[in-house]
Structure formats: structure tokens, C-alpha cells
């Protein structure tokens, strides 16, 4: 891997290169936002994503008129890992497991998939149907650790060596090593990894060391997924770095991680699995910034892409985390990761009947090829985009900055064909599809908000993605959310989010220690050990550790339980008094979440977690509206709840200045997005050029 002697710290300025860019690779487009550190000038762009993602990344820099050498920092989210996983195009990978446990990946904790296929006799567990590591490449080696870290059966080095040689014969170039109870004593795993390195010197080898916590299945899955995508991701980052260096790059490349922070390439390459879906996380990261800057610390986010919509709930400006991040049933990552959920409704989703015979939008999608019918690239089945074109929500001449002239007649014809099965008109089906898509997205938002005890009335809805703003006002209405915040450049919001993300490196260790003042020293020691290690690692990577601070969390449960609860705690050294205070806090947390507390039962700290944070200095953005009148023209369109076509004003977003108001019904079009403002609502522009949509204030009210 290429290294840079002059790795910069986040936000520290270099003399020659003045641009900071965020680049987010999506399924269809690679989005870029560039920010000039001194002038605050902002440029945005969009290029088609390429199979070799580094090509699109380099092209995107050119697309905003920059030379690579002018760039000081790149903050990057990509899809190399997730693409390799979804298409099962990862490295040919072997598994070294404890003898008797080679099938943990297939067991998948044994339960079925909740949802539509729960009772389907033809259901196959994803790993059985499409294995990451086929059984012929899985080996149980002779060894066994007990729960307390003592060896029940010592490691038989020969059994590892034999397996390694067989893997070599089979052409394996990556190996996952995960042994039972290794979280408490990793001696056998380390020795096994050494033997593998001897026998397979060129192979990628991953062990539980990437996140040594309990739960053998989830840990094995995490290590196996890492080994499967690791070589692909590391290879990609390597190629990207080389490509950048060849073009004179002397700055720093940061990678967006699923813990909600960025990492150096070196750190990102240590456990590549934790950057599987970095793009959507970049979006959430941007939303967290927005939540911390504006008047609304509580945001519900909908990032509407071509094939799916990512949703997240941000409360109090805090990063939402989940401890059950699952790729497919049975393939779960152990580390708490940013909680983004997806639903298969996007701008390119097909309009078809569902199982009950009702109008459904998605999950099947026209994708980018052939795309919606109105793109005129061979699509024949109507999509949500076609519905919006026919409704007038998408204006044919204003779409995608004029890059594509939408063929509304083709959309109408396609909608008519599909509508005939319900005896509906094309426009009726378009309105229904728009409504269904909004309802589906609202339902998904509800699962991560209302059903997690959040009162959505206190939240604002924040759309992103090119299609987000055209649905947001209606989604908000369905949810009972009063306020919609459409950020600047919603089409490049994830890329923008990348630009504004702190360095965050998370490490954890299972300790299974009572939360008891008597144990304060050993808990503190576990924290301190992790912090020292991360500090040294980051220092070795050239990071500015003088600005580093740590966040801490414990995972706690009652003795005798399995499910632990992540509780952030103050970063200060943990004393006996500090522990004493945490106990009642845990009981209170428990009562709130589970309807009871068991105050007489000792609380156990299963795992300690630290996150090293180096904050990014937040650069100033130049926020100058374009010249000219914002009002463009009027048009007739069909809006939700309206009996027939209504006349609306069309306004150009780029020309709207702070304080300006747009009364609904209206469309606000911009380079890569269109915002719908419903009747009875008013949009106004705030000082950061966000478009805020709220109920119209009338004389009576």
C-alpha cells in the first residue's frame, strides 16, 4: 500500500492544495462536493459510476474542474465491499474454525427469516444458498478454549498446517480464523494465523482481533465477511491511492466507516468489513452535522436513491447505532454500527401489483439500465420517476440540469398499460404510485422512530438524494411531522456529509466483569489498554493525536443475561464512585426500555468500547445565491389530495436567497433535485440556504 510521509490532520491546511472533496460512489452515480478551504467556494458534480470505482472517482474530480494536485483531502465512501458481497464476487476464502464448529456460517443461529418468507418451505438461509465460504474450504482444527481462557485441548499446529496446505492447493487467497472462546484468550488464534502466514505467505488473514467480543456465530460471520471482502477493498484503496499519487496527490485520503467516522486508509484496511456501506453512513453523518447546526437536533432522514431509500432517526444530534447490523439473515456484524435501514422504494422502482393485488412501488427496479421509461433508454415498465413526470412533479426540461429531456408521452403510455388491470387511468395510477411510495417510506421511518418510542412531532424530516425532496413534504404529512428541511445540494448530500465527518476509530474488548465499585480498577484498565493501543496506532499513522479525545461506552446487562445494552459513559477515568453512579443509571435505563428493573441482581459489563475522535475543523461554505429572479414560470400538476390539476409556481433553488419565501403549492427545482411544496405549506430559505417547509401562517391561525 502506498504511504504518504505528509499525512495531514483533518482540517489542517496545506500550502499548495486548498480543496477538500467528498466523493460518494453510489450504484448509479458518483457524487462529488468540493470545498475551497480559504474562499469557501463550493462545487458539486455527478458522474456515472464505473465498474472499477477508482476511475469514476478520478473522473469526478475532473468533473468539478479540479486537478488532483489541488486537492488536500479526499473523504471517500465507496461500495466495493458491499458490491463484492451482494454479487458474491469476493476473494476465494477459507475458514479455520474450532474442530466441531466448521458450519457456524450455515447455522446462522438457526432461526428463519422474519417477514414474508417466514413460513415459506422453499426458503433457504442465504449462506446455504450463496455461501461466502463453501464447506469444502472450511476446516475444524484441533484446539479448544474453555470459557475462562484455559485450554481444554491445546492447539494442534499440525492440524492447522494441514488445513493451510489444503487451502493453498485449492487456490485460496484469503483466510478467516475464528475459534470458540477466542475473545477471552486469543493465543490459539494468533498461533493459527502465524502458521497460515507461513504456509500462505501471500494470503490475506483475518482473526477475531478485528473485534474480539463474545457470540461465536456473529464473530465468525464478521471475520468471514472481512476475509471475503478484505482483499477486494484493500486492493481498491491501493489502486485509488496509486492513481491519485500518479496525478500528483500529496494530501490525505480518508475513508468513511460504518461507525459514523472516517479513518485513515491504513486503519480502514485493518478491518475493511466495517466500510461495507459507507455512502449511506456519510449521508447520516451530514444529517448529524445539520442537526447540530440548525434549530432541529432531532431529524428523520430519508435518502431516496434510484433503487432504494435509506432512513435513519437522529435524536439530540447523536449518531444512531445498532448492534444487529445484518446483511442477509444469518450474516450479522458484531460491532455497533450506524443504524440506517433501507426499503426497496426509489425513483427507479417499478409500479406493479403486490401480493394482495394493490398498487405497489418496488422492490423491483428499473435500475440505471434501462432506467425509467421517460429516459428513453429502452425501459418499458413504469417507474416512480415516470409517475412523477406524468404528474408534473418532474418537469421534462428541468430534469437533471437538462441532461435528459424526459419523454412524458412514453411514461403515460407505460402507465396506461399497467393501469388497465385496475381499470384506472394513467394519471390515477401515477397519483396512486406517488402516494404508495410516500406511504411506504413513511412506514419505514415509523419503524425506526415511532416504534422505538420517539415522538415524531418533535422531529423534522430531512430528505436527500435527488428524489428525496420531491416526496418529502407528503411523507412528512403522513407521519405527522410539521417541518421539512431540504439541505443544500440534496443530490450530493452524502458526499457533503463525508466532507464534514470526524475521524472516529472504535475498538472494543469483552471483559465480563461485574459493574461493581470493587471492579472499577479492572474496568478502567481495560479502557486504558484500548485507548493506549488506539492512540499509538493513530500516532503511527501520522494523525494529530494532540487533538485526539476518546469517547467511552460500556455494554451492560444483568448477570445471567445475554443481550447487553450499549451505554455511553463519561470519558474520564473510571473510579469506584463513578461505577457506583452507573448502577442506578443502568436500572433506570432498563425500566424505560424493558418495563422492569431487577435491582437486586448484579450488573455485568460484558464489553468496553472506546472511540478515538479527532474532530474535523468545520470549514466555512460560501453561500451566495445565483443572480436572477427565482420565479421561473407556472405549470399545472396533480398533487396528493387535489381533485384535479392545480397551478403551481416553479422556482429556481440556486437563486433563492436567505429569507426568501415560496408559498405552496410550488416546485423548487435545482441542478440535481426537485422539491415539492404542498398546498397550505410555505418554504423559506434559512441563512445556511436550507429550504425549510412549514405550514403556511395565515391570518386566522
Amino acid at each position: 500500500m502506498t504511504t504518504h510521509p505528509d499525512i495531514a490532520d483533518p482540517g489542517v491546511e496545506s500550502s499548495t492544495a486548498a480543496w477538500v472533496v467528498g466523493i460518494d460512489v453510489g450504484g448509479t452515480f458518483t457524487d462529488i462536493i468540493a470545498l475551497h478551504r480559504r474562499t469557501g467556494e463550493v462545487r458539486d458534480g455527478k458522474v456515472l459510476s464505473t465498474p472499477q470505482q477508482e476511475e469514476g472517482v478520478l473522473a469526478s474530480i475532473a468533473a468539478v474542474g479540479l486537478e488532483v494536485r489541488e486537492v488536500a483531502e479526499i473523504v471517500h465512501g465507496h461500495t466495493v465491499g458491499i458490491n463484492a458481497l451482494l454479487s458474491r464476487a469476493g476473494e476465494r476464502t477459507g475458514l479455520i474454525a474450532t474442530r466441531g464448529h466448521q458450519d457456524l456460517l450455515d447455522i446462522g443461529r438457526m432461526h428463519r427469516e422474519f417477514g414474508d418468507r417466514f413460513y415459506d418451505p422453499t426458503w433457504l438461509r442465504p449462506h446455504q444458498e450463496r455461501p461466502i465460504i463453501p464447506r469444502e474450504l472450511r476446516f475444524g482444527v484441533l484446539e479448544r478454549m474453555r470459557y475462562d481462557g484455559s485450554a481444554l485441548t491445546p492447539l494442534d499446529a499440525d492440524s492447522v498446517r494441514e488445513a493451510a496446505r489444503e487451502l493453498a492447493r485449492q487456490g485460496v487467497r484469503s483466510v478467516a480464523v475464528c475459534l470458540v472462546n477466542s475473545y477471552t484468550n486469543d493465543e490459539h488464534e494468533r498461533r493459527a494465523a502465524e502458521i497460515l502466514a507461513e504456509e500462505l505467505p501471500d494470503a490475506y488473514v483475518q482473526t477475531s482481533a478485528l473485534y474480539p467480543v463474545t457470540k461465536e456465530h456473529e464473530r465468525t460471520t464478521t471475520v468471514a465477511l472481512d476475509a471475503y471482502v478484505g482483499p477486494r477493498v484493500v486492493g481498491y484503496l491501493d489502486r485509488l491511492e496509486s492513481g491519485l499519487v500518479e496525478r500528483g496527490f500529496g494530501g490525505t485520503l480518508w475513508i468513511m466507516m460504518m461507525n459514523g467516522g472516517v479513518a485513515t486508509v491504513a486503519d480502514a484496511g485493518r478491518a475493511p468489513v466495517f466500510q461495507l456501506v459507507s455512502g449511506p453512513v456519510g449521508g447520516v453523518s451530514g444529517s448529524i452535522r445539520l442537526a447540530n447546526e440548525g434549530a432541529t437536533p432531532d431529524l428523520l432522514t430519508i435518502d431516496v436513491g434510484g433503487t432504494s431509500t435509506d432512513v435513519a432517526a437522529i435524536r439530540g444530534g447523536q449518531t444512531p447505532l445498532t448492534d444487529l447490523w445484518t446483511l442477509e439473515t444469518g450474516l450479522t456484524l458484531t460491532m455497533p454500527l450506524v443504524d440506517v435501514e433501507s426499503i426497496g422504494s426509489g425513483a427507479g422502482s417499478l409500479i406493479r401489483p403486490n401480493a394482495l393485488g394493490n398498487v405497489a412501488v418496488g422492490p423491483a427496479s428499473a435500475g440505471s439500465d434501462p432506467g425509467p421509461v421517460c429516459y428513453g433508454r429502452g425501459g418499458t415498465e413504469p417507474t416512480l420517476t415516470d409517475a412523477c413526470a406524468l404528474l408534473g412533479v418532474l418537469q421534462p426540461d428541468l430534469f437533471a440540469n437538462g441532461a435528459i429531456e424526459l419523454d412524458v408521452d412514453a411514461s403515460r403510455a407505460a402507465l396506461e398499460r399497467t393501469a388497465s388491470q385496475w381499470g384506472m387511468s394513467a394519471i390515477g395510477l401515477a397519483a396512486a404510485a406517488y402516494e404508495v411510495a410516500c406511504q411506504d417510506i413513511a412506514a419505514k421511518v415509523r419503524t425506526i422512530s415511532v416504534y422505538r418510542g420517539l415522538d415524531v412531532r418533535e422531529f423534522a424530516l430531512q430528505p436527500s438524494g435527488s428524489a428525496g425532496p420531491m416526496l418529502a413534504d407528503r411523507v412528512a404529512r403522513i407521519l405527522g411531522v410539521r417541518k421539512v428541511v431540504v439541505p443544500r445540494s440534496p443530490g450530493q448530500f452524502s458526499a457533503l456529509g463525508l466532507l464534514r465527518t470526524d475521524l472516529r476509530v472504535t475498538r472494543a474488548q469483552s471483559i465480563m466483569t461485574p459493574l461493581d465499585p470493587a471492579c472499577a480498577e479492572s474496568i478502567e484498565a481495560a479502557f486504558a489498554t484500548l485507548e493506549d493501543r488506539v492512540h499509538d496506532e493513530l500516532k503511527g499513522q501520522g494523525a494529530d493525536v494532540t487533538r485526539l479525545h476518546f469517547e467511552r461506552a460500556i455494554f451492560a446487562m444483568y448477570r445471567g443475561q445475554t443481550w447487553d445494552n450499549r451505554m455511553p459513559i463519561p470519558p474520564a477515568s473510571l473510579t469506584a464512585e463513578g461505577v457506583q453512579e452507573l448502577v442506578p443509571a443502568f436500572h433506570a435505563y432498563y425500566e424505560e426500555h424493558y418495563g422492569f428493573a431487577a435491582r437486586e441482581i448484579p450488573v455485568v459489563v460484558s464489553t468496553v468500547e472506546v472511540t478515538a475522535v479527532i474532530p474535523r475543523e468545520q470549514a466555512r461554505f460560501e453561500l451566495v445565491p445565483d443572480e436572477g429572479a427565482a420565479f421561473l414560470r407556472t405549470a399545472e400538476l396533480v398533487l396528493p389530495g387535489a381533485a384535479g390539476p392545480v397551478e403551481v409556481g416553479i422556482h429556481v433553488r440556486e437563486r433563492l436567497a436567505p429569507g426568501e419565501q415560496v408559498p405552496g403549492p410550488a416546485l423548487v427545482t435545482e441542478k440535481f433535485a426537485t422539491t415539492v411544496v404542498l398546498p397550505g405549506r410555505t418554504a423559506h430559505v434559512d441563512d445556511d440556504l436550507n429550504l425549510i417547509i412549514e405550514p403556511q401562517i395565515t391570518a386566522e391561525s
Binding site: 432461526h111 417466514f118 446455504q128 457470540k215 401480493a355 394482495l356 398498487v359 445475554t562 390539476p645
Partner: protein, 642 residues
Amino acid sequence: MTTTTPATDTSATGPDVELDILRYGLIEVAREMLDSLMRSAFSPICRDILDCTVVIHMRTDEGWEVAALWEGCMQHAFVAPHIANFLMDDWDIDTMQPGDVVFTNDPWRGSLHQADVNLFRPVFVNGRVEFLLQSTSHLVDLGGPIPGGFSNGAQSHFEEQLKLPPTLLYANDVAVRPTFNFLLENNRVPHLVLGDLRALHGCLVVGERQLQDLIARGGLDDVRAAGRYAIDATEASMRRGIASIPDGDYSAEDFLDEDGVTDEPIPVAVTVKVRGDSMEIDFSGSARQPLGNSSTAWCEAGRCIEAVKLMVDPSTPVNSGTLKPIDVLLPAGSVVQTLPPSSASSHADIGPRVINVVTQALGQATEESFACDTGTAVYIGFSGIDTRTGHKGTPWGAYGLAGGGWGGTWKEDGVSFCVTPIGNCRTSVQEHVEIESPLVVAQHEMLIDTAGAGRFRGGLGSVYTIMAESDTLVTVVADRLRRGAAGANGGGPGAPAVGWYIAGFDLAEHGDPMNLRGAEPLFGVFDEQGRPDPVHGEFGRGARYTTGKFSNLVIKAGDAIRLIIGGGGGWGDPLAREPERVRQDVRNRLVSVEGARLSYGVVLANGEIDTAATGARRAELTAARDAGTWEVPIAAPLEWTL
């Protein structure tokens, strides 16, 4: 740009969408309740194995109907509707107050067995009980002579666990001390049971909070309408599925090996009658109730309907609408409706058998059928007093489930590592089990040659070996010991269950499940040398037990028990399976080279298909089958080491 359309057109999905959101809201309340229950429970049964479910019952003119639920375990979804109605038949609704919780685990009021307890909490709206929230889970222990809930050998319910008719557990959210005292003082692991009871109650508190929010947002009338919409939509979908089956009477018969008391097989007979979009499932002709505990009291009335769901309507959410198109006929005093005071604790084999027999009957009516799943959980319960340093004197209880295979289907192989469709059990987190219990999970892997052969084979069976570090009391509940899960459409049966005791377990010595050195047969069909052999062997030869249903076996510290659970049955002719798929199975050590030759007629040499030899072998087997001298063999591992 736009065309004029009638105003009504744009709201074509209007009313349904509104109701659908509230319907979804009800399901989400249930999901949240189950999440709360699972995460806050103490015993591995609830928190890991997921043998628990939550239900929202809605008050209707007829009684109580399930509007939404979230399964941990499939069977609970089908038995919950009756338990609520039995309970409310016996409880004066006018005496109920907010925060009350009523408990019952009575099999004659619909409970699966005494170990599966049910908590009900009324939800008041404007002073009237409108909903009942239910949480249900298997508890680790509830007293009686045998730990864990499966009272093998018991011939009356007096010899089984505590059995409580509807009893107040919380009054206005205050624990009723006599009830708790009764449950905890008569218990081997009171700390685990107390923990789970708290979690079961806590999830009702959480659920009521969420449901009241939903009602506050949607209004009671609309929430009730949404519940009705959910039930109607599911019923309609179920009826469409039933209507797709040609009218007719379809009969099938299967059996349980025996009841653990006598040696007699127990036939389970069914006639499924289809008339348009209605159905009857009639168990007339089934065996009378056995002497042992292998029958159930009432739960098959709902549980058998899961078979129909699996066949004709797998995708809609289960609620009372799932049950509505079907009447079930349970002969009084039969193995599917045993009369008190008989024992009724071992529901885990009759349940899958009932589902197997109904799917076999319906399989005659449709090409879109599937072969039987393993049909037995090969359940193992452990308990004892810990002797490990730092744990000395702690009572403990744990469960083991190895999974098994589902049958091959009309379009694909069966899934492996999946318990019978009455459940949806997860594995325990082994690393946690080993902290809490003096056990070492030494082996949990698929076992070669255990899947029923077929064009689409069954899911694989597996081997499960547990070593004890303190003396451990064991209960085993296993069936299908003589012949494995039946195949369908010409597919072969899966492997039967086998058990061994291994003294002085050493991974280096006993790490290969195909090596029988030091393994003493507990149960199964064995040849003269002690190899399992369901085709030529003799049942019980050299084995400690002549049943798979026994209790009070002690595993001494340092020793181990090893169980094989068979795979699912195969679907379709194995001689028609793509040879390449057979080769892949051989590469992955799921089928042996010899097994490929014997059951699939595929001849492999050095890992490659010998096309000519395969053609000849398949022709030979086809001719032999036509002549009545060959049938698809029962799956069985072949390459044992003595």
C-alpha cells in the same frame, strides 16, 4: 402536461392505505414487544432460543381475535387465539383492572404444555377492555419430578409440572406475592424463572405503552378497523390458497415411534377435506391417547393449520384470519386431544407429526409439495448444580437443539439447520452457555449422508455433542428413530436419530463423529458391529434405551452425549438430480462418494463425474426400481470407523 381525471381515481388506494398503516402499526407494536422480551429475558430459552411469542388480541362480538402478533416460535401463533378465548371464558372481564396480568399454562386451555406459560394484560380504552396483550414463552422449569418440562414416563399430569388455571400474576402492575411464591418455591432454577417472568411482564408494559400511542394517533375505531382489515385480508388470502387445491378428501397416516412407556407405534391419521375455499382437517382414525406423555390436550386444534399455511399461503401475517377458513376435528381421547388426567407434556414430536401428516395429505393434491422435515427436535434438556470454581453450588438449566433439515421442495433442496416447523428456534450463544453452565458444546455440524435423497434433497441432519464439566441430568425427547423423515414424489427418507454416550470425552480422540471408538449406543438402529444402520440393523441392539424419550440420564463430569438428528426427506426422483449438484454435495462433504452411487446413481472418480458409468448405474437402478427390487434408501452415514 396533465390530463383531467375523475377525483375518485387518485384515491383508489385511499382507505386501504390508511388502514394498512394502522395494521402495520399493530404488527410493529408486537415486534417491539418481542424485541423487548428477547433482550430482557434471562433464560436461554427466551433470550436466545426464541421459544416465545407476543400477540395482540382484539375484542370482537364473537370473542377475542388475534389482530397482530410477532412470532419467536411459529406454533405459538396458531395456538394463541384459543388460549385467549379459553382464558376469558373463565375470567370475569368486569373484575379486570389496568395493569392486571393473568397467567395460565394449562394444556387443556390451549397451552402447548405446562412449560409454555401465557401472560395476558388487558388494555383499557375509555374504561373498557378493548385489547388483550399476550406474551408467551417456554420456562426453564416449573417443578414436578423431571426438570425442564418434558416429563418422560409420566402417565398423568399429576406427575408433571405445575399446572395453573388462569391466575392473577400482577394486580395493577404489582406482583401478586402468593402466585410468585408458588411459582418460585416449586422451582429448580427460580432465578432464571423470575427473570423471565419479569421480562414477560415487562414486554406487556412496553406493548401497552406502544399500543396506547397507536390508539392515540389513529383513534380506537380506526385501530379496530385496521385489526379487522388485517384479519379479513389474511383470511381472504388463505381462502384463495385453499381454493387453489382441487375439491376432495385427502388422507394420510404417519406415526410416532412410541410413547416412552410402551413399545407400540402411535398412528396419526388425517383426512383433509377441501370444499371450495373451506377446509376441514379431521384426525378421526388416529390412535387413542397413549399411556406416556406423547399426546397433547388441545393445541393441535390450531397447530395443524400451520401445515396449510406452509402449503398455500406462506406470505401473509398470521392472525385469526389464518384459522377462519378451517374447522379442525379432534377426536376426544386421541393422541391429538388427550383427556385429563393423562400426561401431556411432550408436545414436541406430536406437533411436527401432525404437520407432516397434513402436508403429506395435501401433497397428493398439488405438484407444489414438499417432503417431510426431520419431524423431531431431538430435544435435549440439561440441568444440575455447578461444581466449577467460582460457580460452585449454582443450580442451572440449559437446552440443546441441533436443528435438522426441512424437506426438499418442488423447486429446491430443503434448508439445513432448521428445527421442525412448530418452532423457529435459534441456537443458544454457546460462549454464553459455557459461562453459565458447566457444559462444553463440543460439536455442532452437518453430518454427511443424512439428507433424504431426491431430485431436490432434504436439508442435512447434524451431529451435536455436549461434554459435561459437572455431573449433569439429561432429558432427551426424540422420535423417528427407526425411519427418518418421509420423502415425497419419489424422494427418499432422511436419516433417523441416533444417540451415544462417550465416557472421558477428548476432542483429539472423539472429534470425528464418524469414529465410533468409545461411543456407547444410547438409542437407534445398529448393526452387529454397532454401526448405525437403519436399513439392515436392529432397533435398540446394544443400546441403553429402546426409546428416544427418556429422562434422568446422568452425564458424569468429563463425559459427553452425542446425538444425531436426521435430515429432511427428499423430493422427486434422486436419479433425476443433476449430477453436477451431486458432485458439489460430494465436494462439500454432504454426500459421500458411496452415497452418491447408492442413492443418486452418480459415479464419481477423483472428484469428477464418470458420465458413462453414471448413465449405466442410473439405468440399472431404474430397472431395479421398476422390478420392485430397489427403492431409494433411507439416508444413513456409511463410512463409520469402529
